[in-house]
């Protein structure tokens, strides 16, 4: 097969599956799941140290930093201003200028604020960040973010952590069709088949967290997602068959061994 690496901001990735590190039972399971997924990039968050709770060490010691590129997020930020500040803290913490930009004012559906996201993206690109913005599946916004210098766009499939699959299929298809930067479908994927479906659609990568972390066996589910994302990607490259209204026989239509004058039910 020809070389099929994903390139984001000049950096090459063999795996098209990115993983979140949230919601795992413990760090041991998380580490095994990351390994089983074959991922090369994992997301982390930046949080205040709890005052008066020493030993609250965070995730730093639990991750093999040689094996994974860190993608710190700005989760929890409600405005561009908050997100820019957290991105700066993230850069100081992780020594990477990559950031998954999230600006989310609404707590019940965790839907991103497109206006504030674009504002924050413009500021961060100006400061030399490699910005991967989480966004609603909107092709015009995707274009605006790409024009602002974002390295990818990360449209949602359905609300974060909902596991509802690809609710926004039609909008997502347009984003994929018109994108000028890699499209990473992020949020809402519940099962591997849905990851495969967006890869078949033409998405460049998928970011999965809850669907793996909250499965009964996260390590096994991580392996399943790995297979699904690979299968979906190969299928996309292979090119799907046309969709028809009627059946088209797979076996030769001539030379069928028929009985004489059989009455075929209508």
């Amino acid at each position: 097969m020809p070389d099929d690496t994903l390139v984001i901001a000049g950096r090459r990735f063999a795996s098209r599956l990115m993983l979140g590190t949230g919601k795992y039972r413990d760090f041991g399971v998380m580490r095994e799941a990351l390994a089983a997924s074959g991922t090369e990039m994992v997301t982390v968050s930046i949080r205040r140290v709890e005052i008066g709770a020493p030993g609250h060490a965070g995730i730093l010691d639990a991750l093999d930093l040689d094996a994974y590129r860190l993608l710190p997020n700005t989760a929890g930020c409600r405005t561009a201003e908050e997100a820019v500040r957290v991105a700066r803290l993230a850069r100081a913490m992780t020594e990477t200028a990559w950031v998954k930009l999230e600006v989310i004012p609404d707590a019940s559906y965790l839907l991103p604020d497109p206006v504030e996201t674009l504002r924050a993206a413009e500021v961060l690109v100006g400061e030399g960040f490699t910005v991967l913005p989480y966004m609603p599946p909107d092709a015009v916004l995707a274009r605006r973010l790409a024009d602002a210098g974002c390295a990818t766009v990360m449209p949602l499939a359905s609300p974060i952590g909902s596991g509802r699959g690809v609710l926004a299929r039609a909008s997502l298809e347009i984003v994929v069709e018109q994108a000028t930067v890699p499209v990473v479908v992020d949020a809402g994927i519940g099962v591997p088949s849905e990851a495969a479906a967006v890869m078949e659609m033409g998405a460049d990568a998928v970011l999965v967290n809850t669907a793996i972390a909250e499965s009964a066996d996260p390590v096994r589910m991580a392996a399943a997602f790995r297979g699904a994302v690979e299968a979906g990607r190969i299928a996309r490259l292979a090119g799907r068959m046309p969709v028809r209204a009627h059946a088209s026989p797979s076996s030769p239509v001539t030379g069928v061994v028929r009985m004489p004058e059989v009455e075929v039910p209508a």
Binding site: V44, I46, G52, L60, R88, I160
Partner: protein, 288 residues
């Protein structure tokens, strides 16, 4: 709603208990003075008032707490706490269990009175946000409740629990040293502040006694800094590295933002911290 969080150790918890003999205006003035003196948490305890009067008073005490930037807790009544926009609710052993209170007040501070190690362990299991530990001495606030004494305070201190706790019950400026000797780092008071000739001075006295004992923490009068969004006591000669040390935070694993300046992990300078400074200490956590 954004709720204020419980302060760190060294703090003074005022249980503002209403009394028929104390006119409301005087009551509120005394609560306000105690807050000015450095009370870090205020609870409204109005056991003799009906729901409506409790709510009206809670709104007033809540406004005083908000002005002082300290958490406001309502005793016994999650419904009143919710209606008054309080930061939390305090539950006695005969009140609703924390789990039920949380259904009414998701995300709120939930405190629990405990009078024995068994009850303290239950408060831990119930994931209460803090516990009251006492009564250390008998008090007219809770007539008929036998004092559990300093022994219980010592037992709880020996547990080194992650559950924050306040010693309570008859604590005064005259006997606070023995409570601190027993291992308490936070105390809750009623009369010793509310009935003092000058509640502000009394509260400041308690804060000074608590601060002197928790070592680095100076009295609230020396000023405060804003640490991770909360008020935190400042003391003379405080530096960023000294602050990390007294918090027990590993400087190699955190980023410190001091004003607008960001210091990378492991590169935090020993820069002086002035009263009123804003400091954020952050680290890397799980995330999607």
């Amino acid at each position: 709603m954004t709720r204020r969080a419980l302060p760190a150790s060294g703090s003074l918890y005022l249980v503002a208990t209403t009394r028929a003999s104390l006119p409301q205006s005087d009551f509120l003035a005394r609560v306000e003075a105690a807050l000015a003196g450095g009370a870090d948490v205020v609870q409204l305890r109005a056991t003799s008032l009906g729901a409506l009067d409790t709510l009206r008073l809670a709104e007033k005490v809540g406004a005083l707490a908000a002005a002082a930037g300290v958490p406001f807790i309502v005793n016994d009544r999650p419904d009143v706490a919710l209606a008054a926009g309080a930061d939390g609710v305090h539950l006695g052993q005969a009140d609703l269990p924390p789990e039920s209170a949380r259904r009414v007040l998701p995300g709120a501070i939930v405190g629990r009175s405990t009078h024995s190690l068994e009850q303290f362990a239950r408060a831990e299991a119930e994931r209460a946000d803090y516990a009251g530990v006492g009564p250390v001495w008998e008090t007219p606030t809770k007539p008929g409740r036998a004092a559990v004494g300093l022994e219980y305070v010592r037992d709880v201190a020996a547990r080194r629990s992650a559950l924050p706790w306040f010693a309570i019950g008859g604590i005064t400026l005259d006997n606070i040293e023995s409570v601190l000797d027993a291992g308490a780092t936070r105390v809750a008071v009623v009369r010793a502040v509310l009935d003092a000739r000058d509640p502000a001075e009394a509260a400041a006295g308690f804060r000074a006694a608590l601060g002197a004992r928790s070592g680095a923490l100076g009295p609230a009068r020396a000023g405060t800094i804003r640490l991770n969004g909360e008020k935190y006591p400042h003391r003379d000669g405080l530096t960023l590295r000294a602050l990390l040390e007294e918090l027990g935070v590993d400087a190699r694993k955190v980023v410190v933002m001091h004003g607008d300046e960001i210091h990378r992990a492991g590169r935090v300078p020993d820069a002086p911290v002035a009263p009123g400074d804003t400091i954020e200490i952050v680290t890397m956590m799980q995330g999607g």
